[in-house]
């Protein structure tokens, strides 16, 4: 017997000017400082691995990012994670990378995701296959992140597939793009983001920020073009577990920029792990003061347990409760 009293993935009542029925968009449009966090996808087929991690994160964030084989390493898919999380009422940001699927697969996934209750989609290029555990794979890149944004916006606003065929109920999603203000061409990164915004990005999540002066320069360019009024900027932060990992990350993870000073600070400390945490807190406090920044995006690879502490200590959630996840009485499984 199906005993579904309440659908946790149901959209919130429609608000004028909103493209989704999701919580993240509401928080941002209400002018609150938003927090999103990345869930490390499990290498398992056990839903509990997803739920355990989500529970920790959801206490301190407005939406959980479900990564799509980031770093080109194979894990549970973003669609799979979103399916689990939406049925339990979590707000998710489904990441779509252009690396693994062609336009036919992606448009189908967008409809499926929206039907499951996904309200936010982040469009990414995706790391090259050479960065991952299966470098012999065929890279697809049928879209790039900008053309993907434009395609999904068309599905939502015009109710059409790329072919022009009609979609009877369009996916109501809040669309995001990624930015990396810390790698060349530095002078043009903001213009490039403007292009993504023109193509449909409504929020921007950035790569890890360990270099605040560089971020300031980027945000100045963003403001110059008025982009901070057209999209919401969430800056990526994350605790570094050790100076060794920091060194490894900057030479092995594409697009991660960590200044020497940061690594020295880690090396000089007695407890590197605690220092990494403190560094993240300090960064958040500096970042949140920059004009045009609307929130942070926490990526704590294999350190979810710290996210709570970092958010609380940084004070960004001070005056409000995060739009929490499932109510305890929420029926999670539907037995047929």
């Amino acid at each position: 017997m199906s005993e579904l009293h309440f659908d946790p993935a149901a959209p919130l009542p429609h608000l004028p000017g909103h493209s989704s029925g999701g919580r993240l968009e509401r928080i941002l449009r209400a002018g609150k400082f938003a927090v999103t966090a990345e869930l490390n996808p499990p290498d398992s087929a056990d839903p509990r691995d997803v739920y355990d991690r989500a529970l920790v994160l959801s206490e301190v964030c407005d939406a959980i990012n479900a990564t799509d084989a980031s770093g080109a390493n194979c894990h549970m898919s973003s669609v799979g994670i979103c399916s689990l999380l939406t049925r339990a009422g979590y707000a998710v940001i489904m990441q779509i990378s252009c690396r693994d699927r062609n336009r036919i697969a992606i448009q189908g996934d967008v409809l499926g995701a929206a039907a499951m209750g996904v309200q936010n989609i982040l469009c990414l290029t995706g790391d090259g296959v050479q960065a991952g555990d299966q470098p012999e794979a065929k890279p697809v890149f049928d879209f790039d992140s900008t053309s993907l944004l434009k395609c999904i916006r068309g599905m939502r606003d015009e109710g059409k597939f790329l072919s022009g065929r009609k979609i009877t109920v369009p996916p109501r999603v809040f669309l995001g793009g990624a930015a990396n203000p810390f790698v060349p061409p530095l002078d043009h990164r903001a213009i490039h983001i403007g292009k993504k915004i023109a193509a449909g990005a409504q929020f921007i999540q950035t790569q890890y920020c360990y270099d605040v002066p560089m971020l300031r320069k980027f945000m100045a360019k963003v403001r110059e073009q008025g982009l901070h009024e057209k999209a919401f900027f969430l800056i990526g932060v994350g605790p570094l577990p050790s100076s060794k990992t920091a060194r490894w990350m900057r030479s092995n993870v594409p697009g991660v920029h960590i200044p020497d000073a940061v690594i020295e600070r880690m090396e000089k400390s007695k407890n590197e792990k605690a220092e990494g945490k403190q560094l993240a807190i300090d960064l958040i406090q500096e970042i949140k003061e920059i004009e045009g920044v609307h929130g942070i995006h926490v990526m704590a690879y294999r350190q979810e347990e710290f996210v709570n502490e970092i958010i609380h200590a940084s004070g960004v959630m001070k005056n409000r409760q995060p739009s929490r996840a499932p109510r305890p009485e929420t029926p999670i499984s539907i037995s047929a």
Binding site: G126, D127, G128, P184, K195
Partner: protein
């Protein structure tokens, strides 16, 4: 050739100007192409285009040239074939994430656009490529587009043209997805 490709980006402005003039000549010669037949000139055009653009830009013959919007740096040489700008993996020295020995096509692209002194074109959002055009002449396509020949010819105005084409393409629009 890689070195020539870099040279071309440094001379983006001149090359773009030359190309625009060349394009006008091609368009002006429309009566000639029409007389011979667009199908017949397609192959020689492909060979010519491949030879010149292959030499200058390492052109990959995508059939829908975007060079003037990419600072004369061919985006199909990007290992991810990105057509709207760089990925987030560009190395600190401006080299490519995937091919460390190569300069990022898009760092080059922005340089080219600077050289052209016009950043407006590079801001145009490019849509995903039409894979059916691979190997075809993009020059000829520009002429056909301009002169409204072939697939660009105006559709008969009577019935709603888009619908008609749709109906012709899909045998049973009502039963989509049940083709098998």
């Amino acid at each position: 050739m890689y070195a020539v490709r870099l040279w071309s980006v440094r001379h983006a402005k001149g090359l773009n100007r030359f190309y625009k003039a060349f394009e006008r000549v091609l368009v002006a010669l429309h009566p000639l192409w029409n007389r011979i037949g667009y199908d017949k000139v397609e192959r020689p055009f492909q060979v010519m285009e491949q030879a010149t653009k292959g030499f200058l830009f390492d052109c990959q013959m995508c059939g829908q040239c975007a060079l003037s919007s990419t600072g004369m740096s061919c985006p199909m040489n990007c290992p991810k074939t990105l057509r709207n700008g760089p990925c987030g993996g560009v190395r600190p020295n401006g080299h490519c994430e995937v091919k460390p020995e190569m300069k990022c096509v898009w760092v080059q692209g922005w340089m080219g656009a600077e050289n052209m002194g016009d950043l407006s074109k590079i801001k145009d959002v490019q849509v995903q490529v039409d894979n059916r055009l691979k190997g075809k002449s993009s020059w000829l396509r520009v002429v056909r587009m301009e002169k409204k020949v072939g697939e660009f010819a105006p559709k008969p105005p009577k019935a709603p043209p888009a619908k008609k084409a749709d109906a012709a393409a899909a045998p049973k629009p009502a039963g989509e997805g049940k083709a098998a």
